[in-house]
């Protein structure tokens, strides 16, 4: 048992924290970056590539650094603290995760160097409206074409940063019924492929999403990513890595929000005294701190378990972590707004932006009810005997 970071990890943490602090010293800096068409600045993405951040999770053989969930967590926590808008989660952890787990040698060679260099970005187009959070629920179809390729038809929803990705990883059913676990296959679909329509949206946390329709999208046989019919397992592992990452991001955001709130309690005066001298407000702030620390523990747990071999244990652990992060995020977010009073309700206030991001994190990759049900049906965490 060891909670210490290695020298390399400490260096990475310092580097990323410094970059985020220098790049986003104020709320205005974040808002300015979000105002760009892509929702972030291309030059900043290049900076992250130059720092080596974009290559972290990829194998050294692929030009990456072979880092694991702890390093990803360090990056995400630093980003969360500063509300950095770069699509590291969507492009590198989630879509990059699918590539890392499933791409064959030719695909690795063709795709990963550009992803790591920041000149190409992928997005995972998996979710569908009826599926809610069930990863196996896929109605989009892929039918074989006479030329040995595939034709894709269907709709994908809330694809994070799908509008600016030049490569979409699309899941489609090659066999089975809509909610079967088997029979889903992943496909590499370059942006601009005929029949592909991508409609970008702004997201409530300042990010970007896209709605995607596939209408007779013709693909060659080489577009298949990973085993035929084995797509759900890949999406699940990539999603688990993304959940661990978003847990760490939430820690950064909750920590920033707790610090802001405590500072506000110290400085805001009413009735001639700092409002932090009122015990009812002190105890609320303490409850925020406790919620943050409990969430931090579960973010560490998620990072530790995301690569566990035992699938049942891994799934329960990741779901348990998401439940804790969601509950803490809701409590910390709501309490911060309440303790700030009116100013907490305004978009000119940094805390409000953390509140919005935390509310979106709660929903992303499964809400509290979804993940609590998974832990419940798995029989809980404490062994029965």
């Amino acid at each position: 048992m060891d909670f210490d970071l290695s020298e390399e990890q400490t260096l990475l943490k310092d580097t990323v924290e410094r970059w985020a602090a220098d790049t986003y010293p104020t709320l205005e800096a974040t808002i300015a970056a979000r105002a760009e068409a892509a929702g972030f600045s291309a030059s900043r993405w290049t900076e992250l590539a130059e720092l080596g951040v974009l290559g972290l999770p990829f194998a050294e053989a692929d030009g990456g650094f072979g880092c694991g969930p702890v390093e990803i967590g360090l990056v995400m926590e630093a980003f969360g603290r500063r509300l950095a808008p770069e699509p590291f989660l969507a492009a590198i952890v989630l879509a990059g995760g699918a590539l890392r787990l499933a791409a064959n040698d030719a695909q690795r060679e063709a795709i990963l160097p550009a992803v790591i260099a920041g000149t190409s970005r992928a997005a995972l187009a998996h979710g569908e409206a009826r599926a809610r959070y069930d990863l196996f629920d896929v109605a989009t179809t892929a039918t074989p074409t006479p030329s040995g390729g595939w034709r894709l038809d269907g709709r994908k929803t809330v694809v994070e940063h799908g509008g600016t990705a030049d490569l979409l990883i699309v899941s489609a059913r090659t066999s089975g019924a809509r909610r079967d676990g088997d029979g889903v296959t992943l496909f590499l679909v370059p942006a601009g492929t005929p029949g592909l329509r991508v409609v970008p949206h702004t997201a409530h946390d300042g990010g970007r999403t896209a709605e995607i329709s596939l209408d007779g999208v013709e693909l060659p046989a080489e577009a298949v990513l990973g085993p035929i019919g084995g797509g759900v397992a890949i999406v699940e592992r990539a999603t688990e890595a993304a959940i661990a990452a978003v847990c760490a991001e939430a820690i950064g955001s909750m920590r920033a929000l707790t610090d802001l709130t405590v500072e506000y309690l110290r400085t805001r005066k009413q009735f001639g005294v700092a409002i932090g001298s009122f015990q009812s407000l002190q105890h609320k702030a303490v409850d925020m701190f406790v919620a943050l620390e409990q969430a931090r523990s579960m973010a560490l747990y998620a990072a530790m378990m995301v690569e566990a071999e035992d699938a049942d244990e891994r799934r329960s652990a990741i779901s348990a972590a998401k439940v804790q992060i969601n509950r803490s995020a809701r409590f910390v977010g709501q309490t911060a707004v309440q303790l700030h009073g009116g100013i907490g309700m305004t978009m000119e206030y940094l805390g409000a932006h953390h509140f919005r991001r935390l509310a979106m994190i709660e929903i992303a990759f499964g809400d509290t009810a979804h993940h609590l049900r998974r832990v419940t049906l798995a029989g809980g965490l404490v062994k029965a005997s």
């Binding site: 804790q324 809980g380 005997s385």
Partner: protein, 398 residues
């Protein structure tokens, strides 16, 4: 960073687990698990088995019977002990007065008391709280006046847990009535057989006799039973309370109760099936398990940080353990009560017969008393409201 135990730590866990399960009598562990009253002989039996192995006081200095264990090993030991439903070594002996004497007592006191404390040859009780001094402990009024070779002690102590069995009491008394609150308090060791000591039971909310009032009426205490310096008792008390708070999360105990709930639920008839088919119930249980897992890791973080901390100063992060640990203990007792259902209404059997009819609920008579009794855990050891104040001041700087 690696949150897993090392192979050595896992081997250690297996060793202590197997010892608890094979060496501590099963009937004692069953009583603990089912929340039944322990005879004071049960505490003594269990602690002497541990002491014979050198494990009653592993956290003490090695010279006085402690083990040269890492913080992680000590943590594993306590968690396994609780999960095996072994009675905790008597807290007042092993975690309170023992460490204080080992740290601040003189050589004669160490020689005289420590081996007997470890072996539970002497049963100790705590004389801190008074009717007018609860969370505000420093407002205590019991007085000790030096007359020649003795202190004459007058006052009243309360909430004296298991004081009915005690041979000795460690006691805070005011030796300088003119000094301000915390100054002027001394730490005295009082033989319970001394004339003027009267123990009177307090029956608590669970209907049991666990705590007492202790009246001290012109009790003569030899000056050699003063620990450390006169008027410095508050420092020793703070040291003691810091010790009390580590491990106060009782995560192993909550886990043991959850394991028991999971064992009982599939055996507990409900509707067409059992309580294990009730997904509402299981969902509430799972929610508690998730919080408990989080707290377990929080506790491991506190334990890991101990390696680099001044051991005589309390870690304010341990207040989190007290807060959430007590709440989760209480939550598990509520789930057990819910599991028992209407069977929880009946207490002890008065007559004989009808054994076959109530068999699936034979365990249910203690569900309510355990729930009642566990309300104490958010009050003792510094109430949860006090813990909020500690975190607000020491960590948040409010």
């Amino acid at each position: 960073m690696d949150l897993r135990f090392t192979p050595e730590e896992i081997a250690f866990r297996e060793e202590v687990r197997s010892f608890f399960l094979t060496e501590i009598p099963a009937d004692i562990r069953t009583k603990v698990s089912e929340g039944r009253k322990l005879d004071h002989r049960d505490y003594i039996t269990s602690q002497r088995i541990l002491n014979a192995k050198g494990w009653a006081v592993p956290h003490w200095p090695v010279a006085w019977g402690g083990q040269d264990w890492t913080a992680v090993q000590r943590y594993i030991f306590m968690e396994e002990l609780m999960q095996a439903a072994v009675p905790l070594p008597l807290q007042f002996n092993c975690f309170m007065v023992g460490p204080v004497i080992a740290q601040f007592g003189n050589e004669a006191q160490k020689q005289r008391f420590l081996p007997r404390i470890a072996n539970l040859d002497d049963w100790w009780c705590q004389g801190f709280s008074e009717p007018g001094a609860g969370s505000d402990l420093a407002s205590l009024k019991t007085r000790a006046v030096r007359k020649g070779d003795v202190y004459v002690v007058d006052g009243q102590k309360t909430w004296t847990t298991l004081g009915q069995y005690a041979d000795w009491m460690f006691c805070l008394a005011r030796t300088d009535p003119t000094a301000k609150k915390q100054a002027g308090i001394s730490f005295l060791l009082i033989d319970m057989k001394t004339p003027g000591v009267t123990v009177r039971p307090i029956i608590t909310i669970d209907g049991r006799h666990e705590v007492n009032e202790v009246f001290l009426d012109n009790v003569e205490v030899p000056v050699e039973n003063l620990v450390g310096e006169e008027n410095k008792g508050w420092d020793y008390a703070k040291f003691l309370l810091a010790n009390e708070r580590t491990g106060i999360a009782r995560i192993g105990m909550s886990k043991e109760r959850i394991t028991r709930i999971k064992r009982l639920a599939p055996l507990t008839p409900a509707g067409e099936g059992t309580m294990w088919d009730d997904l509402d119930f299981r969902s509430r249980l799972a929610a508690v398990e998730i919080e408990l897992k989080a707290l377990e890791i929080t506790q491991m973080r506190v334990v890991a940080a101990q390696a680099t901390r001044d051991p005589t100063k309390p870690d304010p992060a341990s207040s989190i353990l007290k807060l959430r640990g007590s709440e989760l203990q209480q939550a598990t007792t509520e789930l057990l009560l819910e599991l028992a259902g209407p069977a929880a209404l009946s207490g002890e059997r008065i007559g004989d017969g009808l054994d076959d009819l109530d068999a699936p609920f034979a365990w249910a008579d203690t569900a309510a008393p355990v729930y009642f009794n566990t309300r104490k855990v958010s009050i003792y050891g510094g109430s949860n409201e006090i813990q909020h104040n500690v975190i607000a001041k020491a960590i948040l700087g409010l």
